[in-house]
């Protein structure tokens, strides 16, 4: 998925000299190719993320198309006010890229983990939130971000799990993407890294319908209502706090417009306690397939 991001970025920069990549001293090998092919369009702004977003706003006002890259623990969290005031209030087309979302940086601890970024940005006007599940969705999300001419947050989670699609999905900004059809009264809706888990769970439960949410904001309300009307229970999976994330967004829509129950499966109101591998941390937060399988079984019993 990171290769798809890097390739899309290089293509964008080569076809449009206004594209500028800014990084707060992060990215390392990810940008080797970009630096080689588009050296004039690369800016390392140093370990100073807040200034970087302000500078990006100034560049956007001057007609450039800045990408601001950082770990999602810092972009958007450390720079939230700059995003609100310098970028979104003026409706500037800055594309913010937060890498390592969720608990990807498991062994580094809470400073580098990001389980509140969606919630923080959902309340800010004039910004789209994209969260691709595989390299195909990433390519399409980059297309949408570049076409959007508005502020966009691109959330990159665990990158190397498994392909979800077999070709480029052609969803417009706001749409959910159907991954699997099913006939059960329950369906699974997931974003980012959790779409793979949803696929695994779908197989274990037989014929569950599965949807990916590559666009968290805006979200196609009528599509969500249509899904809700066909199911009694929607289980939402996300590597993010249960507060303010995709589960909340789905629940907000369904509670107003349908009778359907929504179960939010994400990170509870707590930080990671222990050090460990990504798989270990996902288990600690009960986001591994087995834990979710048990949880859904309880819901159905």
């Amino acid at each position: 998925m990171r290769n798809a991001f890097s390739n899309a970025l290089i293509n964008a920069a080569k076809s449009d000299p206004r594209v500028i990549l800014m990084t707060g001293d992060h990215g390392y090998a990810l940008f080797d190719e970009f630096r080689q092919q588009c050296p004039e369009q690369y800016i390392n702004a140093g370990v100073a993320e807040q200034n970087m977003v302000g500078v990006a706003a100034g560049l956007a006002k001057s007609g450039f198309r800045p990408f601001v890259y950082g770990l999602s623990a810092f972009v958007p969290i450390r720079v939230l006010e700059q995003i609100k005031l310098d970028v979104c209030y003026e409706q500037l087309p800055v594309i913010l890229v937060g890498d390592g979302a969720g608990v990807v940086y498991s062994s580094l601890g809470s400073s580098h983990q990001s389980t509140e970024d969606i919630a923080a940005l959902r309340a800010i006007p004039h910004i789209a939130i994209l969260s691709p599940a595989d390299s195909y969705e990433m390519t399409q999300c980059m297309n949408l971000a570049l076409e959007a001419n508005q502020a966009v947050y691109l959330r990159i989670g665990k990158a190397d799990l498994h392909p979800i699609h077999s070709c480029l999905p052609d969803f417009p900004l706001g749409d959910l993407s159907q991954i699997k059809q099913g006939n059960s009264k329950m369906c699974l809706v997931a974003t980012g890294s959790m779409v793979k888990t949803a696929m695994d769970l779908s197989e274990r439960f037989g014929d569950l319908e599965v949807w990916s949410v590559p666009c968290i904001k805006p979200m196609n309300v009528s599509q969500v209502v249509s899904i809700a009307k066909r199911h009694e229970l929607i289980v939402v999976l996300e590597e993010h706090s249960i507060y303010g994330g995709v589960g909340s967004a789905i629940a907000e829509i369904t509670s107003e417009l349908s009778q359907t129950r929504v179960c939010r499966i994400g990170i509870q109101d707590k930080f990671s306690r222990f050090c460990g591998s990504y798989q270990y941390l996902m288990k600690e937060h009960h986001l591994d397939t087995e834990s979710i399988f048990k949880r859904i079984n309880k819901l159905n019993s």
């Binding site: 140093g46 100073a48 807040q50 200034n51 977003v53 001057s62 450039f64 209030y89």
Partner: protein, 271 residues
């Protein structure tokens, strides 16, 4: 145009009409703005939305009434805007707001404007325009860490079209800058960061004029800074360096007293 007594009168009129605060913050930068608008800002075609005019970023957004006063002189604002300041449904806010044509940034949340200025200056250089970017920051605003991030960036990327003017009036919201957060020698700090820096009296129009000219026309590839020593509430005896005027509103009595002081200096006529 941009006669400082008249600008101060406009500020008083606005503050009185809208019953607003931050009068003293605006008064300390009147000469700086007057000199910039009078002699140094390239206003392009004279329209506030001309994309090729020079930038003037008021990072210390609390002083925005001083900029409104200049915009009235330019015809970018009207007498109605001044008299209806803070009326329901009007556009001019108590802090700088980029939705107003002629203002570059939304500031007042401090430490934002300078970073955007750096982006504007970098954008101008990359676009190969001749645009300069003047950024006015307050000495209290220097408490914000983003200011120092922006200074590092500006020097590293050789933004010689950026001119930072620090309004050193010695006060911030809750007291003197020395009491609240002593910044030490500001000129030394800017020089240490790599700016071409000059320290002057920020109310001396002739000196401001000369200094800005000198810095703008230097052949150095460094960004420039003017450390302008000013007086908060300058021009009104009972406001000067009395920090209560950061938040105090004018009464009928203090408004007329202030206007009378300005007129005694034969710079304005009474209303």
């Amino acid at each position: 145009m941009f006669e400082v007594g008249k600008l101060r009168k406009t500020i008083l009129d606005m503050a009185y009409a809208g019953s607003t605060v931050h009068i003293a913050c605006a008064f300390s930068i009147v000469e700086i703005l007057a000199v910039l608008y009078r002699s140094h800002l390239n206003l392009g075609n004279g329209h506030p939305e001309d994309p090729l005019r020079d930038y003037l970023v008021l990072s210390k957004g609390h002083g925005v009434m001083a900029q409104y006063a200049c915009m009235l002189e330019l015809g970018w604002l009207t007498d109605d805007d001044i008299q209806n300041y803070f009326s329901d449904g009007t556009s001019l806010k108590g802090l700088s707001d980029a939705h107003v044509a002629g203002l570059e940034v939304s500031s007042g949340s401090l430490g934002h404007g300078l970073s955007v200025s750096v982006g504007l200056a970098l954008g101008a250089k990359r676009n190969r325009t001749k645009q300069k970017c003047f950024a006015i920051v307050g000495d209290g605003e220097l408490n914000e860490g983003t200011i120092w991030e922006a200074l590092m960036f500006a020097v590293h990327f050789k933004l010689d079209n950026l001119i930072v003017i620090v309004d050193v009036n010695g006060y911030q919201a809750m007291g003197s800058t020395q009491e609240v957060m002593d910044m030490g020698n500001i000129t030394d700090k800017f020089e240490a960061f790599g700016f071409d820096t000059l320290e002057i009296n920020g109310h001396d129009e002739h000196l401001l004029d000369k200094t800005i000219h000198e810095l703008v026309n230097s052949h150095s590839d460094k960004p420039k800074a003017i450390i302008a020593n000013t007086i908060k509430g300058k021009g009104i005896s009972f406001m000067e360096s009395d920090n209560r005027w950061h938040y105090t509103r004018l009464t009928s009595e203090t408004y007329h007293q202030a206007i009378a002081e300005l007129s005694e200096k034969e710079v304005i006529s009474l209303p």
